[in-house]
């Protein structure tokens, strides 16, 4: 079986600016991986490439052994950096809409999560606060039985209590044969749930390591290592 996610010599340039430089790594099923890097390090570009929203300048990104396409859309559940919910629907309509789009969408699960977070199904997207919209978007993303979840800054705009609920939602809902990639710069908040971390700096992969191993061998948290790594070299 092919790795669920693989980058082979993957490069992306925007004009003369290189956003990603020859990335080579793979992620097996069953792992929760943190894609960590300062702003502008290439995290969002990488996730967009994985979704086929951008095309590589060189090399390739493979989802279960195939380039992004119709097949991979069935496998990948993507939480974009910016919310892209249809404005004229309420939460209930949105669930139905998602269910029609994605055969692996579990409406029951989504309902339960809306309820847990106290979000009324009749509430229109337009009336929701920014934080609530982010919660809804994450609920939709995590209610699919996908093989790969790509979460771009899932906890950026929400309060700490919700942040905790969201992280627990991620742990509680992903299927153990699936992988989760979480991009963030809020490392201290997510590091407990990560198997593995990838550090990106200016489009280059500077570290791929097991999170527990970092704590074990270096006696420091992933957050502390990140701060050190990105301080010494001035980003």
């Amino acid at each position: 079986m092919a790795e669920i996610f693989e980058c082979v010599n993957l490069s992306k340039s925007y004009g003369s600016r290189q956003a990603l430089a020859a990335l080579n790594f793979s992620i097996p099923r069953g792992r929760i991986v943190g894609l960590l890097g300062p702003n502008g390090s290439g995290k969002t570009t990488l996730l967009k490439l994985a979704n086929g929203l951008l095309t590589p300048t060189q090399g390739q990104v493979l989802i279960d052994g195939h380039a992004p396409g119709i097949r991979s859309k069935r496998l990948v559940s993507y939480l974009p950096e910016r919310s892209a919910l249809p404005q004229d629907m309420n939460a209930r309509q949105l669930l139905r809409y998602y269910g029609e789009f994605f055969p692996d969408f579990d409406e029951q699960r989504a309902r339960q999560m809306l309820q847990n977070l106290g979000i009324e199904e009749k509430l229109g997207i337009k009336q929701m606060s920014k934080g609530t919209r982010e919660k809804v978007q994450l609920i939709l993303t995590m209610s699919r039985d996908a093989s790969l979840y790509l979460l771009d800054e899932p906890i950026g705009g929400v309060d700490p209590a919700t942040r905790e609920y969201i992280l627990r939602t991620i742990i509680g809902n992903y299927n153990p044969d699936a992988a989760v990639i979480i991009s963030t710069h809020l490392i201290a908040d997510v590091e407990q749930i990560l198997d593995e971390v990838l550090f990106l700096r200016q489009g280059q992969l500077v570290l791929q390591a097991d999170a527990e191993q970092i704590r074990e061998t270096k006696g420091m948290s992933v957050d502390a290592l990140f701060r050190e790594e990105f301080k010494c070299l001035g980003n």
Partner: protein, 127 residues
């Protein structure tokens, strides 16, 4: 008891200690079926593979055992639990006595303080 983890140490070993404590204290009773790895991961807010690793360690120590389909259980042997609880208590007392020694208190002085404490506040009235 809420789960708090030190960032600069492996989480799995901290989980082992939490779970060991729960078993020794009877929070998880002998023979009781344990929550699933996923449930513990969600409750503690940690990675399921880390919980899995902690469980494997407790199995190696004989504190829990797994049954193929039924899940994981606390050992049914009350003596095994008792040994663990005694060991944990011993560690706490040793650590306490070491701290007191650093403050310059002899064991006899510590005992005297404890005695007085019990007379003034029976059953830990001020705790």
């Amino acid at each position: 008891m809420s789960w708090q983890f030190q960032g600069n140490m492996p989480i799995y070993s901290q989980l082992v200690e939490y779970l060991r404590q729960r078993i020794a204290s009877g929070y998880y009773a002998p023979g009781q079926r344990l929550p699933t790895v996923r449930e513990i991961a969600v409750e503690a807010g940690v990675n399921p593979n880390t919980v899995q690793r902690a469980m494997a360690e407790l199995e190696r120590e004989g504190l829990v055992y797994s049954q193929r389909t039924a899940g994981r259980f606390v050992t049914e042997d009350p003596d095994r639990v008792k040994t663990e609880s005694t060991l944990l208590a011993r560690q706490q007392i040793d650590a306490f006595l070491r701290s007191m020694a650093l403050l310059g208190y002899s064991r006899a002085q510590v005992l005297a303080i404890m005695q007085q404490e019990e007379e003034e506040h029976p059953n830990g009235g001020n705790l």
